[in-house]
């Protein structure tokens, strides 16, 4: 899949989550996503970026403008080398949290995007990739 533009951002502190939201928004505007689609992917980005910082112990976000056939979209990858997720099925369920969250981050992000993929290995880390295509 051709990548038109790539932006890499660190995710170690809370403030980094704000930077990921803002960069995702500006790239969404750049490719002409509707306001609703921008808001959906920015919200998903916020949830996943916070997970990387809080549950993953820090990592990075990669935001890409991608092209497939004639359509354009945003693809976001969140990676960490943290503890990993022992039970992915349970983690994806709405309301499940191992901490003090609402447990809506993973399930909600999946609903807010067109593509959603998660890989996680206990003791190795977690990688979540999402994409939202221009309608």
């Amino acid at each position: 899949m051709p990548v038109v533009k790539t932006v890499e951002l660190p995710l170690t502190r809370q403030e980094d989550v704000v930077a990921v939201r803002q960069r995702t928004r500006s790239l969404g505007v750049e490719i002409g996503l509707t306001i609703v689609d921008q808001t959906k992917i920015v919200t998903a980005a916020s949830e996943l970026a916070r997970n990387t910082v809080i549950h993953g112990g820090g990592g990075k976000a990669t935001i890409e403008i991608v092209k497939e056939a004639s359509k354009q979209g945003l693809r976001l990858t969140f990676e960490d080398c943290g503890p990993g997720i022992p039970d992915l099925e349970r983690a994806m369920q709405d309301g499940y949290t191992s901490g003090a969250g609402l447990g809506l981050g993973l399930g909600g992000s999946k609903r807010l995007c067109n593509d959603f993929a998660i890989e996680s290995k206990v003791g190795k880390g977690t990688r979540v990739t999402i994409a939202r295509w221009k309608a």
């Binding site: 808001t39 969250g101 609903r111």
Partner: protein, 128 residues
């Protein structure tokens, strides 16, 4: 320390969130508001989120916490000005903001607070 200002108008507290808050800033606002409800003997809290272009589960939880704590302290909370795209996204995220009263804009929100109607936002549920 960075803080969101809280204004007092009569017996109401007014907050306009104009920056993209990181989590600690949101927590500080929650604590500050709770303290001010007590110290100012406020009977209502109005939170204007019309400048917010994203409300994720953390901010949603903060709004819910503020409303819950205000209720315990005998004050009413109204959240005003939610952008339509934010409302649509919140539903898909799975956050229904139970117990939070909402109004279209600051004027409507103030009317609600002045009316001092203590029902919660899900009025339909009370009847059903």
């Amino acid at each position: 320390m960075e803080r969101i200002p809280i204004l007092k108008m009569g017996s109401f507290l007014l907050v306009t969130i104009q920056v993209d808050m990181h989590d600690q800033l949101a927590m500080t606002l929650q604590d500050d508001l709770t303290a001010r409800i007590v110290s100012d003997r406020a009977s209502g809290v109005l939170i204007d989120i019309s400048s917010l272009d994203v409300v994720d589960s953390f901010i949603g939880r903060m709004l819910g916490n503020i409303a819950a704590m205000a209720r315990v302290l005998d004050a009413e909370t109204v959240v005003v000005g939610m952008q339509p795209s934010v409302a649509i996204t919140l539903v898909e995220l799975g956050l229904s903001l139970p117990g939070i009263r909402t109004a279209l804009n600051v004027d409507r929100g103030m009317e609600l607070l002045r009316a001092g109607n203590n029902g919660d936002s899900n009025a339909g549920r009370e009847n059903g």
